[in-house]
Amino acid sequence: MALSLVTLFLLSIMVFLGGQVLPGNVGRAILGPFADQRAVDALNHSLGVDRPLLTQYWSWISNFIQGDMGTSYIFRSPVAPFVIDALGNSMKLAAVAFVLVVPIGILGGVIAALNLNRPLDRIISLGGLSVTVLPEFVTGIILILIFGVWLRWLPISAAWPRDAGFFTQLYYLILPSLPLFLVLFGYIARMARSGMIEALDSDYTRTAVLKGLPWPTVIWRHVLRNALLPTITVIATQTGYLIGGLVVIETLFRYQGIGSLIFTAARGKDFPVLEAGILTIGIVYAVATLAADFLYSVLNPRIRLGTDQ
C-alpha cells in the first residue's frame, strides 16, 4: 500500500516534469499558433502557468491530496467530473470486453489443448494469433463497415443517447468491444493452451487419472486450476491497457474514455487533467495487480499465507 503511494507520488512528479519538456505552452495550445503573443501571455497569466514550477506543482498537489483535482486549463471547468465520467466509460467498455474475451479465450485455449495438434487446435491457435496481430483500428473499421454501414445491425458510435438504460448501453458497447476481443482472444487462448498442455502433462494429472477420477473432474479440479495461473497474470496486466490504452478505439468509436482524455490533455498541455487521468490509471493498475495476486492465492494454495488450508 505504502509502496503504491510512493509510486503514485513519483508518477505525479514525472508527469509534471514531462509536461514541461513538451514544446509549446498552454496559452499557445488554446489560442493557436497565429494568436498575438500578448494574448497568449495574458492567458498564461490568468491560468497561473507563468508561475515558478515548484509553486505550480505545490499548489496542485496540496489541493489534490485534499481531494480537489483542480480546474482544467482548456475546458475551464472542474477536472473531477471529466475524470470520473471517463473512468466510468472506460470501465464499462473494459467490462464488456472482459466478459466476452476471458471465458471465450480460456475456453478456446482449453479446447485447443485438449485437441492438441488436431485441426481444431490449429484453427484456434493460428486464427487467434492472426487476429491478435491485426491492429485494432483495422479490425475496428472492418467491423464498423460490416455491422454498422452495410448490415446496420449495430450503432457505429459507442456514445449512447442520453439517459440510456443498461441494455441500451450494452448494445452500444458490443461493436467497440469486438476489436478488443480480437486483440486479446489470441493472447489469452494461447496462454491458457500452453498452461493446459503443461498441466495435462504433469504427474498430478496422471495420478488423478490413475486413481480413477472421472475425466471432467480431473480437468476441472486438477488441470484447470493449475493451468490458469499464468493466464490470470496476463489478464491482470491487460487491465491497464483496457482501461487506459484505448485511444485508437475510443477515437474510432467516438467514445469518451480515459485514454482519449489523457491524450487530448497531453496535446493541449492541460496539466491538471493529465495528472488526474494518469494517476487514475496508476491506481487502476495497482488495484488490478492486487486483485490478480488475491485470485492467484485463491487458486494456488502454496502461496496462501497464514492460513491452514
Binding site: P23, I30, F34, A35, F82, I144, I156
Partner: protein, 613 residues
C-alpha cells in the same frame, strides 16, 4: 495618392461614358426591387457559382437613365466602381463583391448591374424545404472552452456561430452580406468606417442588441489584456477604445491606418467577432447568449451540442426544429457515421481523408472555392536558400497541375507564389502563372553557383495532406540536385511557442505551414511576409514589398488595389520567399436530399435554411 488616382480615373471615365452614351440605344430596363436582401435570400448557395446561374456573357444594353439616377446619391468611390462595371474594367462578380465591401446593398448592386446591361443578381428563388427537420452534424471536437474571445479552432467556432451572429457575413462567394449591421460606409480616406445596426434584434436572454453591445464586443477583442485571439487581426488596425457609439444604432470604427477591407475584419471572417451582450463576464458556456436563429439546448464538452429554433429571431425563422452537433476527434469515424446514416453532414471534409466520399452516389459534396493553402517558406537570410535564384529554381520544380489534379483530386486551383489567389477580385490576372520548368531551374541553380546542388531540411507538421505534399516536393527538387530531408513533426512540436527562436515553424530553413481561408488577402500579406511580420518564417525583409503591402491595404478602390496587387505578385514571383503551390477548396459532405445547407470556408455552417427531402 490612391485617392488622386481614382479621382482622375473618375473624371476620365465619366467623360468617356458620356461620349459613348451618345450613340448608344437606351432601352428601358426596370430595376427590380425584390431581387435579394442579404440573409433574406432563399438560398445563398447559388452565389457560389454566379456564372452558372445569373452571369450573362453577352453584353446587354445599358440603361443610363437609371444609372444616373442611382449615381446621384452615391459617393465618388461608389460611382467609380459603377464606372468600372459600365466600362467593362470590373467584372460583374468583382463589382458585386467590392460594392458589398463599400456598403452598397445587394438589391442596389443587382439593380445597377441590371441597368448596366449585365443581368440582374441571380434570382435566388428556390423551392423552400419543409420545416421541422432535425439536422445532425459531425464536426471536430472543440479544442477548448467555447468563448468568443479565445476561440481559435474550427470545432469551437462553428458552435459559437450557431447561436451568435456577426455584423456582416463573408459568404461563400466572398461577398459581404449584412447581418446585424444593415449597412456600412468608409470616410474619404478609409480611416473611419460607420456601421448602421439593424433595429429590433433581440438577444436570447431578452435584451435588444444596441450600439453598446457592439462596442463592448469588439473592444473586448481589441484589448491586449483579454487573451483575445482576434488581437492578431486588429493589431495595427483597431485599438481598444477605437470603437465608438454614435447613437443606439450607429457605431464608428476609428482605424490606426487607412484600410480598404476593414468590414471583413468585423465579419464572419474574423470568427471571434460575434456580437454578445455588453454585460458578458467571461463564462460563455453558462449562457451561450447571442442573437442567432438557433438557441442552445445543451452543450457537453468533448461530446456534442444541440440547438433549437429561436422563435424570436429577427429574420426568417429557421426551418429546422433542432440541430445536433456530434464531436469527432478524427475524420475517419465521421465518414463512417455519415455512411452509416448517423449524421447528415460532415462540416469539413479534407480531400485526402475524404476521397472515398467524393464519388459516393449517396453523398453530396458542397465545394466552396477557398483560399486556404499551405505556405512553403524558404529562409531568405541564411544559406542555402539566401539567393532568390535558388528559391525560384525550387519553385520552378513544382508541377502545380499535378498537385491540383493528383494530390487534391481537382478540388484546388494553382497558386502563383503570392497570396493573390484567383478567387480575390483584386488579383491581377495578367501576371503569368508559374509553371514547372526544370531546364530554367537548372540554369538558375548554375547562375547562383549552386549547380552541384545541396542538402537541406524541410520541417513541417503532420496535418492534412502536408506530409504527402512534402514528399512530392522532395521528388521534384531531386531533378536539380537538391536533396530534401523531411522532418515531419506533430503540430504542437512544429509550432512550438510560435515566437522566433522557440518554434520550428519560424526558425526552420524550409517549412510548410497551413493557412486557413480569409475573405481578403490582408492577413496573408502582412504577418507572413512583411519585414516586421510575426509569422514571417521566411525571414523575408524587403522595403519595396512593405510599401506595396501598406499601399494595397490602404486602397479603397478596386482598381488601385489591383494595381498594387499586380506589383506585389510580380515582386513575390521574383523573390519567392514563400511557395504558394495551390489554394484548396472547402468541402462539406451531406447525405443526398438535404437542402439549404450553407457552409463558409471559415468552417462556419449556416443551417437555418436546411431541410430534408
Amino acid at each position: 495618392m490612391g485617392m488622386n488616382r481614382w479621382k482622375q480615373c473618375l473624371k476620365k471615365n465619366r467623360l468617356l461614358r458620356r461620349k459613348d452614351g451618345m450613340d448608344q440605344p437606351r432601352p428601358h430596363a426596370t430595376v427590380s426591387t425584390d431581387l435579394v436582401d442579404g440573409r433574406d435570400t432563399e438560398n445563398i448557395q447559388e452565389f457560389v457559382n454566379p456564372e452558372n446561374t445569373g452571369e450573362r456573357v453577352e453584353p446587354m444594353s445599358k440603361n443610363y437613365r437609371i444609372l444616373d439616377l442611382i449615381r446621384r446619391s452615391r459617393s465618388p468611390l461608389e460611382n467609380h466602381l459603377i464606372d468600372g462595371l459600365v466600362d467593362g474594367r470590373v467584372s460583374r462578380r468583382d463589382f458585386i463583391r467590392h460594392g458589398s465591401l463599400l456598403g452598397l446593398s445587394l438589391p442596389l448592386l443587382g439593380g445597377i448591374s441590371a441597368a448596366a446591361g449585365l443581368g440582374a443578381m441571380p434570382t435566388l428563388a428556390r423551392a423552400q424545404g419543409a420545416p421541422g427537420a432535425t439536422i445532425r452534424v459531425a464536426s471536430s471536437v472543440p479544442a477548448a472552452a467555447i468563448d468568443p474571445v479565445t476561440i481559435a479552432d474550427a470545432g469551437g467556432l462553428v458552435i459559437l456561430q450557431q447561436v451568435a451572429e456577426f455584423l456582416c457575413i463573408d459568404g461563400p462567394d466572398l461577398v459581404l452580406k449584412p447581418a446585424l449591421a444593415e449597412s456600412w460606409k468608409p470616410n474619404d480616406t478609409g480611416t473611419v468606417w460607420t456601421f448602421t445596426l439593424r433595429k429590433g434584434v433581440k438577444f436570447h436572454s431578452g435584451g435588444e442588441m444596441k450600439a453598446e453591445d457592439v462596442v463592448a464586443s469588439i473592444d473586448r477583442l481589441a484589448d491586449p489584456a483579454n487573451s483575445s485571439n482576434a488581437l492578431s487581426v486588429f493589431n495595427g488596425i483597431l485599438q481598444k477604445g477605437a470603437t465608438k457609439k454614435v447613437d443606439d444604432y450607429t457605431v464608428e470604427f476609428h482605424l490606426d491606418a487607412p484600410n480598404g477591407n476593414f468590414p471583413y475584419m468585423v465579419s464572419s471572417d474574423n470568427y471571434n467577432a460575434v456580437i454578445i451582450p455588453a454585460s458578458y463576464k467571461g463564462d460563455y458556456e453558462k449562457s451561450f447568449d447571442g442573437t442567432g436563429p438557433f438557441k442552445l439546448e445543451k452543450y457537453t464538452a468533448k461530446v456534442g451540442a444541440s440547438f433549437v429554433r429561436n422563435d424570436d429571431y429577427w429574420g426568417d425563422k429557421a426551418l429546422p426544429e433542432r440541430t445536433e452537433f456530434t464531436f469527432f476527434a478524427d475524420t475517419q469515424p465521421m465518414i463512417l457515421a455519415l455512411q452509416g446514416g448517423q449524421v447528415d453532414i460532415i462540416n469539413q471534409l479534407p480531400v485526402l481523408a475524404g476521397v472515398g466520399l467524393l464519388t459516393d452516389p449517396a453523398i453530396d459534396i458542397i465545394s466552396l472555392k477557398s483560399v486556404a493553402h499551405q505556405q512553403l517558406h524558404m529562409r531568405c537570410d541564411s544559406d542555402p536558400l539566401k539567393d532568390p535564384r535558388v528559391r525560384r529554381a525550387i519553385a520552378l520544380c513544382l508541377d502545380r497541375k499535378k498537385l491540383v489534379a493528383g494530390l487534391m483530386k481537382g478540388r484546388a486551383i494553382e497558386g502563383n507564389d503570392s497570396p493573390f489567389a484567383a478567387a480575390y477580385p483584386s488579383t491581377d490576372p495578367t501576371v503569368p502563372q508559374r509553371q514547372q520548368d526544370i531546364a530554367q531551374a537548372k540554369q538558375l541553380m548554375e547562375a547562383a553557383g549552386a549547380g552541384k546542388g545541396f542538402k537541406v531540411t524541410l520541417t513541417t507538421e503532420r496535418y492534412l495532406e502536408i506530409p504527402e505534399y512534402a514528399q512530392l516536393i522532395q521528388n521534384w527538387v531531386k531533378e536539380i540536385g537538391v536533396e530534401l530531408e523531411l522532418n515531419i513533426l506533430d503540430q504542437g512540436a512544429y509550432y512550438g511557442d510560435a515566437v522566433f527562436g522557440k518554434s520550428n515553424w519560424l526558425d526552420s530553413v524550409m517549412g510548410i505551414t497551413d493557412y486557413g481561408h480569409r475573405g481578403v488577402p490582408n492577413v496573408f500579406l502582412a504577418a507572413p511576409l512583411r519585414s516586421d511580420g510575426t509569422w514571417n518564417a521566411a525571414h523575408f525583409k524587403n522595403k519595396d514589398y512593405d510599401t506595396l503591402a501598406t499601399s494595397y491595404i490602404a486602397a479603397l478602390d478596386l482598381e488601385a488595389q489591383k494595381a498594387d496587387a499586380g506589383k506585389i505578385q510580380k515582386l513575390l514571383l521574383e523573390e519567392t520567399p514563400v511557395i504558394f503551390g495551390y489554394f484548396y477548396d472547402y468541402l462539406t459532405a451531406t447525405t443526398k436530399g438535404l437542402t439549404g445547407v450553407q457552409p463558409t470556408a471559415m468552417s462556419q455552417l449556416f443551417l437555418e435554411k436546411a431541410a430534408k427531402a
